[in-house]
């Protein structure tokens, strides 16, 4: 079998680039958040960077709750019902 073709993410620097790109995009969105006028239904939608903060916090809460609470309660062996 010959040498397998190198794929996009076989090179670690491409993964680093992707993650850096994400950081840059997040930074740009924060800057844009200061410029674009808000017009939501609720007062908190007008708070600076509300959606960014909510996205970040809620996902962390989601993962931690699923991992430390739900999984502890409901996790069973793969063949539990067999």
């Amino acid at each position: 079998m010959g040498e397998e073709k190198q794929h996009l993410f076989d090179r670690p620097e491409n993964v680093t680039r992707l993650i850096r790109g994400l950081y840059v995009a997040c930074g740009l969105l924060l800057i844009a958040g200061l410029v674009v006028p808000a017009h939501g239904h609720f007062p908190w939608e007008h708070a600076p960077e509300f959606f960014a903060a909510y996205g970040l916090v809620s996902c962390i809460v989601l993962v931690l709750a699923a991992k430390h609470i739900l999984r502890r309660i409901v996790r069973r062996d793969e063949h539990y019902y067999d």
Binding site: F9, C26, A38, H39, G55, L56, S58, V63, R75, D77
Partner: protein
């Protein structure tokens, strides 16, 4: 030119001809049939809305074809889903699957276009039966068990609906399917029957239990029709019913926790299906024109992107034989097209700008905002971030990227790629040009998703959710996928029910043993004892009775007499002869009878 053919009839009648065709001609036939159905629907839309076909039934009238804008939208998308899924399964589907799918989709269209409760109920049951076959067609033990449980749950839903309908007919004297207000027992039963098919929280386990066990294209079919038909029924009959707002919010929120820890990627999608239907149920519950439009538009979008995601995972399952996140990873190297289509589905379900849900889900969010439903709005926003997390990132990441599983499967066959391509194209089309979908919605639409603030707020929400995922991954906090199952409410009937029924059996067994030892056993022994010499037995009993009550002097005599009788039993010392004589007489009689009987029989026979 107009049409008067109910859309369901074309598909159900067409199902009978499936076995006639083989190989490629069967695929062609199925695709042509779906296209004919769609053509019929376009012709139906030319006629003025209302009842187009009805027949008398007892004292009532069956409305076999009731067409309006609400039913037409569902009709269109159902046909599109049928066409795409037939294309997807062209290479693998058995005749059984094709027939079951046609009857199932026919049933869904029947429910949507039925104007009376009787035919609606019949189509509802037809869906339950045929969809069970799509699960059983996988031909595994797990699929058989899951299908059986699925069928029982849907039988219950059908019964609730039936009782509700009967009460409603009794109450109103009419079969017509119209808007109802929750109040009487009949309306609550119908509400609950629809709720089971809609996978309300607590009534949802049939979905996450059975969908991942169905065949590859069977799961794609199932994901499109049962829950969406239930959403249609709720939108038709209970728009603005307030409990739906809270039920929908719960549906949108709780499955995402399960989706984060689930290993089977098709089951992750099943949980995310409930989450998306939750948005629709909230929309129906709010009940304003914007909210109903949003619920219907999101149902259309969901059929496409959820179908697309299930198709992508089905392709992975077909090519690798594996579907657990722990076994997959790195497939983008050899399945780039499937990976790309999967990411289009992921972007669509996550409501990225330029993808479908951005233009549909936001209508429901806006409707909640207009109504000032603060808590619901927060829950839905949480669900929006969460869906990106599990369906938007987790599905493509663990299947196609993540650690390299070493698997190098071939790309999915061309028909599957075409089917996924069409679905992906439609997802992008709805996102880029939502006006085309908006024009089909039940009410006139005055909604503009592409404002600067909406685009920015949505991008912020999604990118920072992605940031959370990345940071948790890099920090090693993200829960690693585990080979495990996660208990859900189906535990109640799969485990608790089993324990209860076993203890009932054990209890019944104990009662049986007690009965035999204490009641029936002694009774039988007594009877045997008695029949050996009834006369002597009675005498012995009488003696024993006498001994209890006689004077002390006589007791001695009677006791010795009883002992003697007991010793000789079953012989009777007082009358040895008469009994023997009687037995001899009976035996002689029987012998004579036998001989006579024998002679008579040989003569006539």
């Amino acid at each position: 030119m107009t049409s008067q053919i109910p859309p369901a009839w074309i598909l159900i009648a067409g199902a009978f001809l499936v076995p006639v065709f083989k190989g490629r001609s069967r695929t062609t036939y199925l695709l042509v049939l779906s296209a004919l159905g769609l053509l019929n629907l376009i012709l139906l839309a030319q006629a003025p809305a209302g009842s187009l076909l009805h027949v008398p039934f007892l004292d009532y009238r069956l409305e076999l074809l009731d067409v309006d804008r609400l039913s037409l939208v569902f009709g269109y998308i159902f046909h599109v889903a049928l066409f795409v899924t037939f294309l997807y399964g062209a290479r693998d589907d058995s005749v059984l699957e094709n027939v079951a799918a046609l009857v199932y989709v026919g049933g869904a269209l029947g429910v949507v276009f039925a104007g009376d409760w009787v035919s609606l109920f019949c189509y509802w049951e037809l869906m339950a039966l045929s969809s069970t076959l799509l699960i059983w067609a996988r031909h595994t033990d797990r699929a058989f068990g899951a299908g059986l449980r699925y069928f029982v749950v849907h039988a219950v839903s059908g019964l609730l609906l039936l009782f509700g309908i009967l009460l409603l007919i009794h109450e109103r004297g009419s079969l017509e399917v119209t808007r109802l207000d929750l109040g009487s027992a009949g309306t609550y039963l119908i509400f609950l029957g629809a709720g089971i098919n809609c996978a309300w929280p607590g009534l949802h386990a049939w979905l996450t239990d059975a969908y991942p066990e169905a065949t590859i294209s069977g799961t794609v079919f199932l994901s499109a029709f049962t829950t969406k038909t239930a959403v249609y029924l709720l939108a038709r009959v209970f728009p603005g019913a307030e409990p739906l707002i809270w039920i929908g919010a719960a549906m949108a929120a709780f499955p995402i926790f399960y989706a984060v820890i689930e290993n089977d990627l098709r089951r992750v999608l099943a949980y995310s299906l409930i989450n998306q239907v939750g948005f629709m149920v909230v929309g129906v519950g709010i009940g304003t024109e914007l909210a109903i439009n949003g619920a219907v538009a999101h149902a259309v979008a969901d059929i496409l992107f959820k179908g697309l995601l299930f198709m992508a995972m089905g392709a992975v399952l077909r090519q690798t034989g594996k579907i657990n996140a722990t076994d997959l990873g790195g497939l983008y190297k050899t399945m780039p097209w499937t990976a790309a289509f999967c990411m289009v589905g992921a972007a669509s379900i996550s409501a990225f700008p330029l993808f479908s849900a951005f233009a549909t889900k936001s209508m429901i969010m806006s409707a909640a905002g207009e109504k000032g439903l603060q808590a619901v709005w927060f829950v839905l926003l949480f669900a929006s971030a969460g869906v990106f997390h599990h369906a938007g990132i987790k599905i493509p990441f663990f299947a196609f990227f993540s650690h390299d599983s070493g698997l190098r499967p071939k790309e999915a066959p061309r028909n599957m790629l075409w089917a996924m391509g069409i679905a992906a194209g439609l997802c992008i089309f709805i996102g880029v040009a939502p006006g085309a979908l908006y024009a089909l919605l039940p009410y006139p639409v005055d909604y503009h998703p592409y404002t600067g603030f909406h685009v920015l707020s949505q991008l912020q929400l999604l990118f920072f959710s992605a940031l959370a995922f990345t940071l948790l991954m890099l920090a090693g906090v993200y829960p690693p996928e585990q080979r495990a199952i996660n208990l859900d409410v189906d535990w109640l009937y799969r485990r608790a029910g089993l324990v209860v029924s076993r203890s009932i059996l054990a209890g019944a067994g104990a009662v049986g043993v007690w009965w035999q030892e204490r009641v029936s056993g002694p009774a039988i022994r007594g009877l045997v004892h008695f029949s050996r010499n009834p006369l002597a037995a009675v005498r012995m009993a009488a003696l024993a009775f006498q001994i209890q009550w006689c004077s002390e002097g006589r007791k001695e005599v009677l006791q010795s007499r009883l002992r003697r009788r007991k010793r000789l039993f079953p012989e009777d010392p007082s009358r040895p002869w008469p009994l023997g004589m009687a037995v001899t007489a009976i035996v002689t009689f029987l012998l004579v009878y036998l001989v006579v009987y024998y002679i008579r029989n040989t003569r006539t026979g």
